[in-house]
Every structure is written in C-alpha cells, then in structure tokens.
C-alpha cells in the first residue's frame, strides 16, 4: 500500500518537474525558429541571436543591469553576513526581534509594496537632503534590501551549523576574535556566502517591479525593456535573449553547486582525517 502512495507522489513529482521545465524548453526551441511567427516553424536559424548584438537598447539595458547586479549582490552578502552573525552569535541584544523580522519580511512582501514605499522614501529624502538621485543608486539600495534578506537567511542557516569549538581553539592559541572568525569560520561558511552572492546576483538581474518604481526616467534595466517588449506579445528576439539568460544562469548554478559540493566533501574528509590523528 505504501508503495502505492509513493508511486502516486512520484507521478506527481514527474508531472510537476515537466510543468516547470517544458515551457522553458519550448521557449529555447522557438528561439531557433527562422520564422518570426511563433506558431509556424520556419526552419532552424540563429538569426535572432545575431540581431540581439545590434540591438543597442537591449545591450545598454543589459550592461546597466549587470552593473546593478554586481553592486547589489556584493552589498547584499555584506549585509547578510553581518545580520546572520548578529543573530547567530549574539543571543540577546536590543533590536534582535526587529532584525529577525526585517530579514524575513522582505522575502514575502509583495514587490509592488516594497517598490512604492521605497520610492516614496527616496523622493522625500531627495527633497530633504538632495540625495539620492533616482537611478542606479536607488535601484542598488532597494536590491540590497531584498537580496540581503535572502543572503542573511542563507548564511544564517549555515552559520548555525558551524562548530564553534574550532574558533575557540584558535582563540586559545592566541588569535584575536576577528582573526579567528576570519581564518576559521569564514572558510567554513564560504559556500553559503558564494551561493547567496550568486542568488542575489540573479535576483537583482531579474527584478522588474521594484526597479520600475525606484528608477528614474533615465535608467531602464534589462527586465524593464524585456517587459515592455513582451507586453506587446511573443517576440523572437526576446526568445533568443531569454535562452541566453536561462542557459547561462542554469550553467552557472549547476557548476557552482557541483564545485561547492566537491570542496565541501574534501573539507569534510580533511576534518575527519584531522580528528582521527591521535591527540598529542
């Protein structure tokens, strides 16, 4: 009987995975369609990829988005590391509950709410202090908030599992606390730092709603340009662009996951080997 339930859930698993992947695979297929009409197969062609290279608007937007994503993901990891360290290492401090709330709320808050409220802040700040100008700066700040929340949660769950006795051993041997954290704990949470950086990067690169609110009239990010094109219907150029993004991100994530898992396994083996050494 139990196998009956398992086979039902496995069928659902397969259907679910197909549901997640078939639309993307079809999109990739259509990006090689020579015909500009989506319902007609006009033969294999890479011409839409070629025309991407000549689309100034898309290229400019892509460069801006990459710049924003680089700055935001770096900021987000710093924010996330500090917040996670505070929450994991300090059991009690004023504002602990507030900090916990503020790294969890952005994960569920509808983007449209975050976007409009942050815009109103930026506008009021600009009125009062003459800063910030809407555009790159405001988009990066907004992205650091919501990517930082993801980073904090990821790093926190990793930091909790770190054996503190190693860091304490380093301190017994005369390391300063900062040095001990840097040399001992940081390498152990490196996979979480790397994956939260990567996640922040892709989240920032993809964000449409918050960026639309907080950016000024001059800055158009890649998702904003894609959205305005997609709103008009399916376009072959966007198919090609989407394929490039999906394949690039997918390859990066799989590669990073593989590398991190291997590094982790090696570290575990070294640790075990170290523990097996007779104490002396």
């Amino acid at each position: 009987m139990r196998s009956g339930r398992l086979s039902f859930s496995f069928t659902m698993l397969m259907i679910g995975i197909a549901f997640l992947y078939v639309p993307m695979l079809v999109l990739i297929g259509y990006s090689f369609n020579a015909s500009p009409l989506v319902s007609v197969w006009g033969g294999f062609s890479v011409k839409w990829y070629g025309s991407l290279l000549h689309n100034r608007q898309l290229l400019d937007a892509a460069l801006l988005s990459l710049e924003i994503a680089l700055l935001s993901s770096t900021g987000a990891v710093i924010l996330g590391l500090l917040a996670a360290t505070a929450l994991v290492r300090f059991r009690q401090f004023r504002g602990r509950l507030l900090l916990t709330g503020m790294i969890n709320a952005p994960l569920v808050m509808p983007e449209i709410i975050t976007g409009i409220t942050q815009l109103l802040l930026f506008v009021s700040m600009a009125q009062m202090f003459g800063w910030p100008h809407r555009g790159l700066t405001t988009i990066v700040i907004s992205h650091v908030v919501f990517c930082g929340a993801y980073a904090a949660v990821t790093i926190q769950s990793r930091l909790i599992t770190v054996d503190r006795s190693l860091e304490e051993a380093a301190r017994d041997l005369g390391s300063t606390p900062l040095r001990a954290f840097w040399d001992v704990t940081l390498p152990m949470i490196m996979p979480a730092l790397a994956s939260s950086w990567l996640l922040s990067f892709t989240l920032s690169l993809d964000d449409l709603v918050i960026s639309s609110f907080v950016s000024g009239p001059s800055a158009s990010t890649l998702p904003m340009v894609i959205y305005s094109k997609v709103k008009l219907g399916v376009t072959p150029e966007i198919n090609a662009l989407a394929t490039l993004i999906i394949v690039a991100v997918g390859a990066c994530v799989v590669f990073a996951g593989y590398t991190m898992r291997r590094a982790e396994r090696q570290r575990d083996q070294e640790m075990q080997a170290a523990y097996r050494q007779p104490a002396g």
Binding site: G16, L20, T100, V108, I112, I116, L121, V209
Partner: protein, 320 residues
C-alpha cells in the same frame, strides 16, 4: 564586566569563558559594529518607507514634483498648517474597482495557493522519500527554475498557453478537445502562472518538514492496523503542518500583490490589486491613491505576515 555577559550569551553552559575570551566577537564595541549596520540599513530602507507611504496616503495629488501636497505647511509668520486628507480612503470605497480587485486578489491568491499545495505536497513527499543522492539532484531540479528569471519564466509559460500554443495543439492532437480552448487571458491562466512561478517556494518548506518526519511512527501506525490513508491524515499531515503553513504563506502573501503574472497572462477582467496600484502610479500618476492602495494591501497582509514570521522565528530559534 565581560565574563558574566558572555556566559549568558553562549548557549553551551559546559563552556565557561576563559580569562582571555571576551564576549562575542570583539567585545561590546565590536558587537555593535556587527549589529548596527544591518539594523540601521534595514530600518531606514525597509521599515521607514512604510511610514512615508502611510503619510502620503493622507496627501492630495498636486501638479508639482513630487506630485502630492505636503501634510505640514509653514505659512507666513511661522504658522503651521496641518492638512489631513482622508479623501483617498473614502475614494477606495466609492469606486468599485478597488473593492472588486481587492476581493479578486484574495480569491486568486487563495485558490492558487491551494493548487500549489495540491501539486507541491506529493512532490515534496516523493523527494523526502527518495534516497539521499537522488534527493540532492531532485532538489536542485526544483530550485533551478527559481534561480533563472521569474519574468522570463512567465513569458515562457505564455508561449505554452497562448491560443495557438503547445498546450492547445497537444490537447487537440490527443483528441481531448476539438477546438482550441481559451486559457490565455483567463483567471485560470493567472492561477497557472502563480503555481508555475511559486511552486519551489511551496516545495522547499514542505520538504524540510517531511524529511525530518520519523518514519517509525508510520510503521507503528501500520502495525496497529491503520490503513495508509488514515496514517497519512493522522500522522504525516499534522506533523508536516509547519511546512504547509510556511509554504502556503510563501505563496499566498506575494501572490496577493502579484503584478507581472496578471499583467502578462490575465485579461482585462483579471484585475488584481497589484495591477490597480501599478496603473494608479504609472498611468494616472496619482501617488497618494497608490499609497492608499498600498496601505490597504498591507492591512490585508498583516495577519498572514505575522503568521509566517511566527512560524519562521520559532523554526530559527529552534535551530539556534
């Protein structure tokens, strides 16, 4: 000075602080250097903005930059004037579009969450029951779409469900339908879009609770003669409730304010509150009314967000 506090903050009592160990990472100052930057940054750029939205919801539109009136005006001779305008809130009740879109958003988010749960639960269950090596691969397969672009995935779904798309072609080819069914620009398309986009958020917390489930409980229940479906409802489901609630909140809350999905997949009737807010802001340039709509959405979401926070904080404190 530092020794007692450090004994207090360490969770392991078997680890008395040595004389050279100062509390935390670098003592009191270092502690605040770690706590304050994220705290201040998030208060200023995440929390304070809500106060501004609340304030501007009482303002009026004006032809100026920014396009709304000040609440506090300083007149000649230093007289303060306070203009408090409740008109935006009254306006939300007079124009039907707000009530309709508000209710429609709740309905859409609710049914999408149910659909997501119905699909996600068996999927999470199957992953949790897989061998460890397969589990990691399956989890990667589930998470991978979340890493790739959300916007592009909604666009990809559009390619499948549009009138001459693959889904209709397949249905006709299989002989299930004889004429193309209209999926695109319907409520169902919006449901499908939300399930498609948020499925990983449902599966991951469910998996986390189902994986921890003690299997011997089910065996004991079977030994005592309980049929599997009864064991499921008596044991598995109640024990996985934290995952069900966390997953459902992770889908329901963002779905309420969803803009991209109804805008790209829905028709003109599928007016969700996020779309109304967007139009109010970008098309009508009515910032005060848009702020009022945002406040109204927040009021609606306060309960679900509190529930989510409650479960989440408990989970984290449990680990910590």
């Amino acid at each position: 000075m530092n020794a007692p506090s450090s004994a207090h903050e360490r969770s392991a009592p078997a680890d008395p602080p040595g004389p050279r160990h100062r509390s935390g990472l670098t003592g009191r100052l270092g502690r605040w250097l770690i706590v304050l930057p994220p705290l201040v940054f998030l208060v200023v750029f995440f929390l304070v903005p809500f106060a501004f939205a609340f304030k501007i919801s009482f303002a009026q539109t004006a032809v100026r930059i920014p396009p709304f009136t000040d609440l506090i005006t300083v007149g000649s001779g230093g007289v303060f004037g306070l203009s408090f305008n409740l008109g935006n809130y009254a306006y939300l009740f007079t124009d039907d579009v707000y009530a309709i879109s508000y209710l429609y958003s709740i309905k859409t988010a609710f049914f999408s969450t149910i659909l997501c749960l119905l699909l996600g639960y068996p999927m999470a269950y199957a992953i949790a029951r897989s061998p460890k090596a397969t589990q990691n691969i399956l989890l990667l397969v589930i998470i991978l779409p979340f890493w790739t672009s959300f916007l592009l995935r909604v666009y990809a779904l559009e390619g499948i469900i549009r009138d001459g798309g693959l889904l209709n072609t397949a249905l006709q080819w299989l002989g299930i339908v004889h004429h193309p069914v209209k999926i695109m620009r319907t409520t169902f398309a919006v449901y499908l879009g939300i399930v498609y986009s948020y499925l990983p958020f449902m599966i991951l917390p469910l998996f986390a609770t189902l994986e921890k489930l003690d299997h011997s409980l089910l065996e004991a229940s079977a030994d005592l003669g309980s049929p599997p479906w009864k064991s499921f409802f008596d044991i598995t489901l109640p024990l996985s409730m934290p995952g069900v609630i966390a997953g459902s909140m992770l889908v329901f809350i963002p779905a309420i304010g969803e803009f991209v999905i109804p805008s790209l997949l829905g028709g003109p009737d599928n007016l969700m509150i996020g779309r109304v807010l967007w139009d109010e802001f970008f098309n009508n340039h009515d910032w005060p009314v848009a702020s009022t709509v945002a406040v109204a959405v927040l009021v609606l979401l306060a309960g679900p967000i509190a529930l989510y926070q409650h479960y989440n904080v408990r989970e984290m404190e449990h680990y910590g």
